[in-house]
Each structure stands twice: as C-alpha cells, then as structure tokens.
Subunit: 371 residues, 4 copies
Amino acid sequence: MSQPKQVNVGVLGATGTVGQRFILLLAAHPFFHTTGLGASPRSAGQPYHRAVRWKQTSPIPSSVRDIVVKECKPEEFADCVVIFSGLDADVAGDIELAFRAAEFAVFSNAKNHRRDPVVPLIVPLVNSSHLSIIPHQRSLHSLQKGFIVTNANCSTTGLVVPLAALEHAFGPLESILVTTLQAISGAGYPGVPSLDIFDNVVPYIGGEEEKMEYETLKILGGLTEDGKSFDLHSNTPLRVSASCNRVPVIEGHTEIVSVRFAQRPPPSPEEVRQALASFTPPGIPEESAKVVCPSAPERAIVVHDVLEVDRPQPRLDRDFQGGAGVNVGRVRECPVLDIKFVLLVNNVALGAATSSIINAEIALEKGVIQV
Amino acid sequence: MSQPKQVNVGVLGATGTVGQRFILLLAAHPFFHTTGLGASPRSAGQPYHRAVRWKQTSPIPSSVRDIVVKECKPEEFADCVVIFSGLDADVAGDIELAFRAAEFAVFSNAKNHRRDPVVPLIVPLVNSSHLSIIPHQRSLHSLQKGFIVTNANCSTTGLVVPLAALEHAFGPLESILVTTLQAISGAGYPGVPSLDIFDNVVPYIGGEEEKMEYETLKILGGLTEDGKSFDLHSNTPLRVSASCNRVPVIEGHTEIVSVRFAQRPPPSPEEVRQALASFTPPGIPEESAKVVCPSAPERAIVVHDVLEVDRPQPRLDRDFQGGAGVNVGRVRECPVLDIKFVLLVNNVALGAATSSIINAEIALEKGVIQV
Amino acid sequence: MSQPKQVNVGVLGATGTVGQRFILLLAAHPFFHTTGLGASPRSAGQPYHRAVRWKQTSPIPSSVRDIVVKECKPEEFADCVVIFSGLDADVAGDIELAFRAAEFAVFSNAKNHRRDPVVPLIVPLVNSSHLSIIPHQRSLHSLQKGFIVTNANCSTTGLVVPLAALEHAFGPLESILVTTLQAISGAGYPGVPSLDIFDNVVPYIGGEEEKMEYETLKILGGLTEDGKSFDLHSNTPLRVSASCNRVPVIEGHTEIVSVRFAQRPPPSPEEVRQALASFTPPGIPEESAKVVCPSAPERAIVVHDVLEVDRPQPRLDRDFQGGAGVNVGRVRECPVLDIKFVLLVNNVALGAATSSIINAEIALEKGVIQV
Amino acid sequence: MSQPKQVNVGVLGATGTVGQRFILLLAAHPFFHTTGLGASPRSAGQPYHRAVRWKQTSPIPSSVRDIVVKECKPEEFADCVVIFSGLDADVAGDIELAFRAAEFAVFSNAKNHRRDPVVPLIVPLVNSSHLSIIPHQRSLHSLQKGFIVTNANCSTTGLVVPLAALEHAFGPLESILVTTLQAISGAGYPGVPSLDIFDNVVPYIGGEEEKMEYETLKILGGLTEDGKSFDLHSNTPLRVSASCNRVPVIEGHTEIVSVRFAQRPPPSPEEVRQALASFTPPGIPEESAKVVCPSAPERAIVVHDVLEVDRPQPRLDRDFQGGAGVNVGRVRECPVLDIKFVLLVNNVALGAATSSIINAEIALEKGVIQV
C-alpha cells in the first residue's frame, strides 16, 4: 500500500487524438512516467511539439514538448515497461503484437485484439478479474512478461458499468435495449466532416452496434472453468440490442437503456438507484484506491437525484471526476422491459485513455506487470 | 372529384411559430383561403407584418402581409368556416371551445383537447376514420356544424404512421420501444435557450413521453362499438415505452423504434420494408388525392434503400415531399424485440400545421365540414 | 429576345459539392441541357447515382440519375458546347486548358486561371463587360470558339456587388476593410472537420484574404486601353484589407464591410441605401432578363429596412431569390472610414455554381458562345 | 507582501450566470471568503442549492451549497466588507447605490454606473490607476468607506488590453476598427434562443457597439488634471468603430482588430508582437503578484507564434490561464490602417467575474478597500 515505484511508459500513436489524451493524463500521473513517444515514420525524428497537431484545450505538457518522436518499433522503447497504444486500427494489430513479443506490457485502446480469445477486454470498473487470463496468454505465446490487455469501445464502456452494478445486486440480466447518442470526438480526427453532422443526426456508426453487442457479453461474462477463455455470459443468455447514432455533441456519449432482469419480480426503480449508487468496482482495493489507482473515480456511478429530471447532460456532466466515472439519471419503470435509465460516459476519458491507464494501475498493483 | 370550392379559413395564434407555418402553407393552398388572423390582444389591430416576428426562411406571403390581426374571438371571424389553431396550450383550451360553440370547424394543433373522449386525435395518414365521432361530438354539445379535431404531438405523429402500416399488414403489435432525438423547433419560440442545447443533449422533455404513450393508443385503436368513444387499442393490449431527448438539430425528429408483433413468427425485415413502402393512407381517395388532399404526400412512407445505411437524416431528408411524409430506414432484426428501424418526421410540417391542413382537406371531402 | 435555343452542357467534377449544385440548378434550366458528366477515373463508367455521395437536400434529379459518368477528357464530351467546371483546384488547371484547346466554352468555378491576364474573372451582376477580352484570349491561343471564363471566390463575389453599386453611384472607392464570417460549405466536402469548428471560430482561411484583395481589384477595374488586359483599378488606387474567418454556419457568408469614398463629403447612409437598392447589373438586358438570364436574381441587392436591425442573417436570408442575389443591411456611418454595412452572400449559389451559369447565359446572349 | 487577511464578501445576483461564476471563483480564493448570497425575493430564504438553476460544468461548491439566500438589502450583509454584483441591469442600479450608501465596497459587473463621471470603469490589466478617483467619489457622497467600481463590457475588456499595450509602447492610437464574433454566454441565461443562433450569425447586439466605442475611451484615457473626472482620451482624439456579431459559440469572444497609430511610420508587426508579449499590467506589483493578485493571469497577453496561423480559437484557447488573460494572434500589416490582429477574450472570465475579483484584489492591496 505504499506509493508504487516509478514506471517508465511509452505512448504509441502519440500524435493522434487518443495519444494526446494519454499524454495529458500521464503528464500528471504520480508513478507512470512518459519517456517514449511513437508515431508514424513521417513524424519520427521530430520533437513532439513539431510533430503533433495539438487539439487539446490545455497546452502540450512541458515534460513531453521536446521528446523526439520515434517509430513504433519495440527496440526504440527499451527503457519502457508499459506501452499504451492509441494507434489507429489499421496499424495497431501488428505493432501491438510486436511489442508483446518483445515482452512489453501493452494496454491498448484499439479494437484489433478485443475478440482474441486470450486477450482480456477490460473495463476497469467492472472486470479487472479477467487479468487472471494473462499467465495463459503468456504461456501460449512463450512469453515471460509480455501481454496485451485491451479496453472496450467507448459506448460499451459506459454501458457495462451500470449493468455490472445491476447484475451484482440483482443477479443476471436477460435483455438490454440501448440507443446511443454519440459525440463526434468518438470518431477521432479529422473524423466526422462538419457538413455531415451540423444540424443533423446520423443514425448509423459502422461496426459500432456489433461491438456493443459482442463486447458487453465478453465483459459481463466470466472465464470458462479452465480459466483459459471467456464464457460470453453463457450461463444465462443475455440479449443485447444496440442502435447507435452520431449527434452534434463534442464530447460525452449519452445512452438510453432499458433492461429486463431474470429475477421476477424485478427490482423497483428505487432499489436500482441504490444499487447503482453504492456500486464499488471489484478489484480496486477500497482503502488504498487513491494510492494504487489514482486515475479511478471516487464514485464509479453518480446517480442523479430524482429531482434532477433532465440529467445527465454531456456538456454539464462529462467532466465530473475528470470524466472517469459514469453518470446515471432518470431511473424509472419501462412499460416494455423492466427498468429504463439514461447514462453518460465521457468517451475520451473513461471511454478511452483513462480506462487503459486504470487497467495498468490495477495490473501493477496485482503484480501482473513485472517491473 | 371536381376541384373543391373555395373555403375561407382563419388562423389563431397567427404570430407564433406554428401559426407562421399555417400561413405559409395556406398561402399556396388551392382552396383554403386565409381571411382572418387571430393573436393576442397585444398584437390585435396591427397589420400582420408589424405584429409578427417572422422567423421563416421565406418572406411573409404578400397575401397576408397587410391583413389586420384580430383578437381570438369568434365574432371577429364571421367570414370563416374553418379555423386552424396554432395557439399555445395556456390559452388554446377555452378559445377553441368558444369557436366550436360558435359553430366553427376547428382544427387544432394544441394539446388541450387531445384526451377529450369525443374529440378525435387524427394523424391524417392513419386514422381519419375517427372523424366518424363528429356527429356524436356535435350532438353532445347541441351543435349543428361546430366541432374540434386535434392532431397529434409531433413525435407521436411520426411514430404511428409506420406502426399503422405494420398493423395493417401483420396484425396487432404487442410492444413498442421508442427513443426520440427531437429538434429544437419542437419547443416553439423562444423555446430552448441556446446555452441549454449547444454541444449538448437534454434527455428529458416535460410531458412528452406520457403524450407518446397515450396518443399512440388512441390513434391506433378503434372506436368502441357504439361509435361514441375510443377504445385505446383495448382489444389487444399494446405496451409503449418512450424515451424523449432534445438534440441540437433545428428541424426534424429522429426516432429509434423497436417493435414486437403479436403474430409469431414475426415478419422478416424484408417483409416489413415492403409493407411500409406500399402503405397507402386509408381515407384519402387514391385516384383524386392530388385534387381533394393536395397537402398529402405522394408516398406516406419513404423507405430508404438497404444500401443507404445511414439514412434518414434530418438535414438531408426533412424537406422531402415538403416534410409531409415519414422517412424510414435501417429496418433490421432486433435481438430483444422483433424488428427495429429509424424514422424521421418533420416536426413542423407533418408533425404540426401540415397534419391539421390535411385533416381539414379530408373532412371537407367527407362532408364533415359543412360549407 | 425569343427563347434561346437548347444548348448541351457538360459538368466536370460532377460528383463534388460544386458539381452537385451545378446538376441541381441545370436540371431545372430552360435551355441548358446536361448531357455529359465528368469525374475522376475512379467514378467513370458508373451511373451517376452510384458514383456520387449525394449531399444535397433534394434528391438526385431523375434526368441525370442514370447518366454514365465519364473521365474529364474533351473527346468524351463531343455533344456539348458549354462546359461547367466544378473541379478541385489540384486538377482543374490542366483539364480546363485541354477543354479550351478542344474549342469548348469553359465556365470555371476553380481558382486556377483567375489570375491569368487574358482570362476574365466575372461576377455576373458586376463585370460581364469583361467578356470583351474573349476574342483576344482566343487569338492568343489560336482558337475559333474555345475560351475560359472564371467566376470569383465566394467571398469576393458577395463583396463586389455592393461595391460596384457604390462606385456606379458615387465614383471610385478609396479603401475597403472587410471581415468575413464564412460558412463551412465554402470548404467543400469533407472540408472542415467537425472537431475544428463546433463551438468555435477559426480566424484563418488559407489564401482567402489574398484572393479577396486581388480579385476585388481585377473585377472592379476595367480593361487597359488596348482591351488586352485588366487594369486592376489602377486609375484610382483602391486599398483592400480582408480578414477571413470560418464560423459554425452551414451556408451563407456574412461580411462586415467599411468603405471610404474618394468623393468628399461622402454620401450619407440613406444615399448609400438607395444606391444599393436601385442597382441594376450592367450587361443583363432589363426587359428580357427573365428570358435570357433566367438564373439572375430579380433584385441584385436586397437592402433590409432600417427597422430590420439584425438582418441579414444566413439562416433566414440565404435562400431568398434562390441565393442568387446579395442581401445588405445595417448601412450606417463608420467612425473610422465613411460607411459600414453587413452583407450576406450564399456561397454555394451566387458564390459558386449560380454565377457560372449566369455568366454562361450572358455569354450566350452576347454571342460569345458560338452554338 | 505577506498574505492578505481574510475578507468576507457577498455576491449579489448569486443565482444568475455571472453570480454562479463569482461563486465558483471565490470558492477557491485564498482570502476572499463568501458569506452572503443575495438574489430576488423569490429565491430568498432557500438554501442556495435549491434556489439556483446551476448551469456550470463543475458542481456547486460545498462551501456555499447550504448558505441561505437573502434579499439584496445592505442590512442582510452586515458581516461583509466587499460586495460583488452580478445583478441584471434592470435592478442593479438602485441596489448598488444602496450598498454604497451603506458603506460597502461594491465591485459591479453591471452596466448601470459605467458612465457615471466619478465611478471608475476598470479593466484590471489596464487602468487600475483610475482607483485614484475613489476618494473624490466618497467625498461627493459623504461616505467613509463605500464606493462603486465597475468593470467593463466583456468585448471592451478584451479589446483594451492589447490597445493599452500598444499605447504604452508606441504612443497614442488614432483609429480602431473592430469586428466582434461574440459567444452566446455573453447574453446571460436564458439569453439567446437556440432557434435564433443555430447555423446562424446575428449581425447585431443591442447597445454593444455604443458600449465598446464609449468604454474604450474612458478606459484608455486618463483623469482630468483635478483628478475628479475622466478625460475620455481627449488629448489625442481616438476614433473607434465597432461592429458586433453574435456567433454560435458557447464561450469566448473573438475580435478582429485594425489599428492606426499616431506615430509615423507605424511600428512593424514584429515590434507590435514584442510589445504585446512583454506588456505587464500597471498597478499589479510584479514581485508579489501571485500573493496579492492571485486571480490575475501570469501573462496579460499571450501572443501566438507566427507559425500558429489559425490561433487564437475560442474552443482551444479560452480556458488558458483560467480565461484571465487575452490571447492575440495573426499580427500583420493592414493595407488600410496600419496593423491588424485577432484577439480572444473569455467573456465569462476576464470579461466578467474575474475582472471584478482582480479589481477587488488590487483595491485591497492599495488600501482603497478599508477592512
């Protein structure tokens, strides 16, 4: 429970939007210390502030301004133990494999390895227990220290936190129907052309609904008995229906959720509110959370008061707790399923870089990362 | 089937946003002729172009520019037969009753009388058959010609058109789960403060969910056997769950809909697409539609091609057919209910003034309006 | 003055945003008939509706839906007399030269040839007299019929219309200081990333200020005495200072203009208002304007009443006259120069395709196009 | 230079948007301690968190959550020395006079007393020397301790900071031409209706241009020789022409400025950049600034590098230094006047509450506030 030792980390995709977030968050981190920045060959060789088109609302941290960007090759990151990958999906697959093969602890925000049967897909407030598959992952690939952990799609991340809280309190869910209203920042940069989304809604995001429907099962399910794969919630079938929409909001995904419980009669809205508000993420030691998991939110789920009938709202609530928690409001009965509610997740914080960093904090605390 | 004779009409609430729409639409109408404009005592006595803060994207029609605005009193509208009411709900109730009592045919966009057991709530592409209750309404109030017909809430209007098409083709629905993404113009003027909705979603619209859940039943249900009240879909229970959200879009409500049919097995997505595309509104005579119902759309429902995966979109599709039809896209299986799809309704056209006008056209054709 | 004969035209860059506008406008044109569509080799060979990502708010005109797209080579457009070019600047230069060399009458919206000393830069409401250089252009290139006419940058186009009216009424201007608030559609598609412009202003548009400062001189100036080049307003020096900004508006450029006249004392605001409102474009025959220039606006400049203190506004005024005129408001004294005012120009209508088409209409009427 | 003692302060208009900002800023203040909250009689008597419709992006500070709101009467604020007024102009005038008469030091954000000949209009980075009129103000009103200091209109505030730097370095200015692109938050809440400003520019803000033209003279000018009034820059006439526009931006006013110097030849852009970047606000003791003026920015003016051609931008730059400084970019020659540049001021920080607080800090340090 003493302050962890300093750990050198590298950031891949450092000039992209997720990479910029990693850099901002890590600049203020008590024990992760950014020493390596990787980007495309075009950027390599330049000091970071020249290579990047910085799009954040606070300036480039002075500690990384002049770090020379390198290509994303393991040999360039010899002084790092942990690698955070904010790479685009078109290159992330092979590069992350190369870093794992070179015995790095890789925490990836990319989608490429999320469906790999031995790569855990971890939302840190939900299923850090899935880190237990790492020894098997290493053994399969004949590694001593290297591994890959991915975090989930930003929309999935927001969804599974309250769902996990509900399953924890009331047993298995049977059906989930979710409609998302997703922010433009979820599409990266340049991302969504302004002509497509000004004064508009785009009721389709390629691949997003499939990701939400699959990832929810992988995250909420357990491991198989032998501990060597994920059971995809197979003990009790869980049906997930997602409809994903892009809306003209900069940051913060809103999700409209209806759920049906296996338990009959289902819990009341008031019971659901209490279960959500009192949920504490398994795997984060409560008494030492601030020391070992400094990036985790104080409250995993903030439940808005029943009087705050029009909350959560992205512009007003997305920065609460640095965007590391999930906000839930409007918990009420659903005339078709059992209960419906609204949730808000900060897609660029908990929905992306923040999750990777908390995952690494937990992995360090559990000894999964070998320093 | 000959061209109907000219009918003088009055517009109440003429300076408001709905009233402005009535005026624009009626200025180009082949047989409704606007002769009276009613507004608050503050506006009365001024020529229309002085009284109004005109907010439309085309100029004030020259035919109404200099009409002197009157107070909303029946005696001021002696030369009118039909009254279109775009009044705000805080005054609409009593004023509309007064006009009915004075033997006017009142077509109202306000919510006040929608739950009245003898006032039909008519979406013209769906349930103009409910006009059959008018004789009973008159008899109850000892009237010869006067009556009130209301149109539905803008979100309900968009929803019930495809639902009616589905019930027509496949029999009763069992459950409907709908999430709306509603435009700011739905709240009138000044309506939503910009600080509340820029870069934001507001996941609550006061009273809207209750309206959608009630009105859907009144519209899709039939009349009771004695023809003197509405059965609220009582033969086969229909559960409706609505979640209503305000989004930063100027015009056009998007609705994400999942339905479950009573019929097992349910129809396939392809069967649903065909049923929607081929739906023709009952009560509008097909062969003479353009003459007697010139404001009705050529196609009640436009179904987007399966290749147009990201449609309908409000900015691109809301003005098709002058906003008088409903656009549907993304018809596909729902893992939780049976079928899900996306619809778009122009809230200020079909969702408001256009519906009232088509209702009046049908009522004229059926002889319900006594000229 | 009889209806002109039918003229076959081709559109280059037909799948781009300017090309889509050309197609919409030409589909309703009384004598230009679109028979050829040119685009990149990637699109060539496909029917238009497959090749294009249509982004307009009305559907693809049925008359062009199935036209097979060709490469932008003169031999593919043998049945056309007039070519409208909506090509991007990176390819427009050479392709337009090739079409001119092949004896086509080329009307270009691209910037490439605007500074060519023998290519007229024509804003149709202002300087169609510059068509008189065409014989010299042909002679230089040994052509019988071929020529290139360009239209101006969208911001320049809006600016020079009222400036020409002022010079016409009050003699030469001495200084112009203009600040633009430009719409995103001015940047084409995909154009401005939404992350760059949501809730933001970008106070820089590459090359735009230089274009406005140069083009204003070329358009407002006359020809040199020998009629073989443009005098760039050299008789009386005119200083132009432009500051260009991108704002979160979809369509319609707003420009804040201050001018100083050579004439002392300068005209009063009321004299300026009258001069603007009564301006009639030279070169468009008044009595037959609707027949020979059907795309020209009825009023070149609409001056907002002094009571309309907050107009023009892009959303409310950009579609007036189909966006073919310029709206001016808030004419008042400037404490630093003489007079200041606000103007609005529809950047995708008069600021782009509409100007090219009116230019071609005038050129046809004057016999410059040889059918 | 030791840490100032604690000073109790009251906030009037505490439930409004400016009041909310005062509360947020003061909650973190090292020596101003909020003990009184004043609002309308309707709110009085309720704990603050019930009375307010909180619209900030961080939660209500716990230190004020349960403070009971009082009416804006001096006797209710007996424990306060300093009063910050965020009152609306329709009530601010009389209430502020009453507090002054009751011997409070009143720092007002309202416009009511800005033109009072003995009330200083202070932009803290510019003219805190104007506090020297306070003894005369007191004497006129027979007061011992009471006085009123106002801060400037938000747009004026941003403008005068670089202008003061230029006059400090290069002597008097002769002409200023400024076009503003102002954020919606400048209009308060509910303020601008979303239907008026979505996808739009409104080229008019009532009274704003007059305020900028007058206030600039009062702030940049000195006191008359007898020290009893302001000279409105009378020694060297200064012409100011302002054109004010509302744009769809939430926070941060952008201003496009051209200036002409009295000095011929004028300074070069590079000299201007250096003068701006090195400007230090007179009246804030440099060595102890952080202690006595903790709310002042470290750099009064941040000048963007010539390579940052598209900065400042409201979304990216408005929160730098907590919005307490002014950002300037694009310093270059103006073909009509001498130099032009772009500035950004955070209208709700330096443009409002932050200025009032720094004014109070300086007044405390100078002994003008008598604790």
